[in-house]
Symmetry: C2
Subunit: 490 residues, 2 copies
């Protein structure tokens, strides 16, 4: 019985559950046929370098799910998926092909350093300040209103706060409205629901944030990727695409794009707006990372620069504070916002009000700004450690972006290195990253990979990049013949 | 300048904002043309019976939105929507017809009693118990994990708790999985996204919950309504529809259906499952109200009775605890649940984790059960007051359902009374309800209306129904000639 699971130590899903899911998949796919004997827990624990209780917990889940059965003194056997779905043919109903979700690569080995997740550092969460904001909410006189069914527009005090902030910043035009969403992801989803018709084309960045790619593809949109260079989206290319393809809308990340870290310079912002205006194409400005600028001066957002009401700005509390609380917002012209609000009401009535109230207090009390200052300081150090270590450890001929903020650096290894193929070796050495193919729209650069640095300490970053450098330089020296392919990850 | 706004005193949206929105609509629609002079705040305040500061706040919003301009000593004038949306033709892009959302009727007058909202009583929220559960969460050792990006499946400790509860109840089959959603509404939305293809037919109840009607219609589904009688969906009709229409799926509320309050008897549950199984049609069991049984014995859910894996069960914390916290779940066969989880990840990554953790503590600590006991006691009294008052006050020939739980009673007035037309009179007397047309799929019974009693005290219920009885009896006596139509509400 072959079994080499891909386990993520840093995942929110416990190891026993990851193990269970991958075993269950083996059984359901028929790789482990009915009657097959599973290894003893002690044996598998030794083989995978895991605690025996982890294995037992996974076996228990398999057993309670009816996938295996234990026989005293004989061991555990595969019983297979329980029979009896005669009536509803689920696989027939669900036939529409949908690529499986990316399973993020785990950092194995001793180092256990993962550059794979673009998320803030758990260690920097200001728990006491968070508790103080919760305490403040719990004494609010409108606590019962927070717990009662609310408005699809959002918790009104938060909406008002964000709208006033947007007015002060000159981001809100007179005809604008603001809608609270479950993070930027839901705002993108609602925009797709409201604007997309079957077969529509959407202009996006190449490489693109994976969550946007799977969202738009899942809605049946045709994606056209506009290459992103060190200075963000190539506006000349965009102009040609706008003219030729007449996309339904354009999604662009103005600051510290995921995955490249690139930021659009001011002149490109203006040129992009002119091109979109001339083509009559709406601009969806995804600005999840804009608050995380470690160096240099902030640029005005596309929304601030747009004098023609063609831009929708998406922002969120997730990257700068707590992504487990799903609160973001969309700001744009009222006719669109009215429709987004209706779509929001159909989707889930409204965003959770407890978190909206807590984040409002976190912001109003000044705790968000104080936390942001700490995040910016740590981010600057982490970014610096990343760029320095790239320069010190990566093989000659490697190129990488030099962002001034955000969470990601984009690396291009010299030919003929293949970041997907090398991931297996890196994981054996205890370091993980996401290869470029996760982010490709139509052009795959096999040497590309994303380093998400925000969740790691400078020490981990240096150690991780030293290891990656060794793995990549080793591949340069040994040629490309002896690649071991990485375990399947899609 | 004509202006008679529909204002909801019981709304979460402040009065000044309701006022602002309705004035802005007048300006945007052109009913109030550019240059028109607005009444002075004092004058309008007197006219509408509102505080002058409310009017001023609404005017301020209009002014900051650029819709009106104030001139010292002359008053405020309509400036109209700011010009300049040359590039993006939003109204063209948004051309797809979508009926506006229902604006819930307000209870005006002195009584101010609204039977319009199917939601729990704000006054019964156990704020101290809620605070205690928040405090417990804030001392959890995994607090930082709660704040970090989580899993699309849901917060694992809550998922495990709900899965174990479902196993104990015999609701979870061996091949089942459970997904946390933002309430039942999002579960319905995800199911639609995953299962529906353009032009598909869906079998639903007639009358139907409005949120489900607008969701499915918005997705382009053709709805076929199966009449709901005092004993729930008419299964004989369902059988014919399943055979003739081959719907993509069936959505059914097993307990205390919204709007009728009807519950499917055991024999009908079995017959429904047999019919769906024979037709190979999945059953979506919406059980948002099942926990709110005030009398009689609980019946096994369709999910518990289904031996063939064709049913998905949707439940939620909203109706029995706090609807402002958006946490529900779906339980069903794993192939479907895998797809729902992918759809969930695209929609908003995952459900808010703070509320998931708080509700888990609320349940595990026994506070939910204690709260439910109080809600059941209050609900029984309110239901009794409703049924008694219907019997005492409504005109001869009126019929109504006699639910054993939930939040709603369905009333049919004797012909030729029209519940939509009479709403205006009722509102003038200070009482609101939702006429049957909000819930119609294809068959409109003009005499029908929904009374949502859970949010009102027995005293309010008696007073409200006494007034309604007077209005309805008055209409019977005076004939139907003198109806004043209610203000537009759609």
């Amino acid at each position: 019985m072959e079994f080499s699971p891909t386990l993520r130590q840093d995942s929110d899903v416990p190891l026993y559950r990851q193990l269970f899911e991958q075993m269950a998949a083996k059984i359901r796919s028929g790789s482990w046929p009915r009657g097959e004997r599973l290894p003893a827990t002690r044996e598998l624990a030794g083989q995978l370098g895991l605690n025996r209780t982890t294995i037992s917990a996974a076996y228990e889940l398999l057993e309670s799910g009816g996938l295996i059965t234990g026989q005293v003194g004989r061991g555990s056997f595969v019983t297979g998926e329980p029979a009896g779905s005669a009536g509803v043919d689920w696989s027939g109903l669900l036939e529409r092909a949908e690529g499986g979700k990316a399973v993020y690569p785990a950092a194995g080995g001793r180092a256990g350093i993962s550059f794979a997740m673009s998320r803030p550092s758990r260690a920097l969460f200001p728990l006491d300040e968070f508790r103080a904001s919760c305490a403040a909410v719990l004494t609010r006189s409108d606590l019962a209103d927070i717990l009662q069914l609310g408005s699809p527009s959002g918790y009104e005090p938060l909406r008002k706060y964000l709208m006033e902030e947007a007015r002060r910043q000159g981001a809100a035009a007179p005809g604008d409205d603001l809608l609270i969403t479950n993070g930027c992801q839901q705002a993108l989803d609602l925009i797709g629901r409201v604007l997309l018709r079957p077969g529509d084309t959407v202009a996006v960045e190449e490489p693109i944030y994976t969550g946007l790619k799977s969202l738009l593809s899942g809605m049946g949109a045709q994606l056209v990727g506009i290459p992103v260079g060190a200075d963000g989206m190539e506006v000349g290319q965009l102009e040609r695409v706008l003219e030729r393809e007449r996309p339904r809308f354009l999604v662009v990340t103005s600051n510290f794009q995921n995955p490249t870290g690139a930021t659009l310079p001011l002149s490109a912002r203006r040129a992009l707006l002119d091109a979109a205006h001339a083509a009559g194409v709406p601009v969806i400005e995804n600005d999840a990372y804009g608050e995380l600028r470690y160096h240099g001066d902030a640029l005005p957002s596309l929304k601030q620069l747009d004098e023609h009401g063609g831009t929708v700005l998406l922002r969120s509390f997730s990257k700068v504070s707590f992504p487990g609380l799903r609160v973001g917002w969309a700001l744009g012209p009222r006719p669109l916002m009215d429709r987004l609000r209706h779509a929001k009401e159909s989707a889930d009535l409204h965003t959770d009000q407890l978190s909206q109230a807590v984040l409002l207090d976190f912001a109003e009390s000044g705790r968000l700004e104080a936390h942001r200052a700490r995040v910016l300081k740590a981010g600057a150090e982490r970014l610096e450690a990343t760029l320095e270590s790239c320069s010190r450890y990566l093989p000659a001929g490697t190129r990488w972006t030099r962002p001034q903020g955000g969470m990601n650096v984009w690396v291009k290894l010299p030919e003929p290195l293949d970041a997907s193929e090398l991931l297996g070796r890196a994981q054996k050495e205890g370091v993980a990253y996401l290869p470029g193919r996760y982010f490709a729209v139509s052009r795959l650069d096999p040497g590309s990979l994303r380093l998400s640095f925000a969740g790691l300490t400078p020490e981990q970053i240096r150690e991780g990049l030293a290891i990656l450098g060794r793995v990549f330089r080793g591949a340069v020296e040994s040629g490309t013949e002896n690649y071991e392919p990485a375990p399947a990850m899609v």
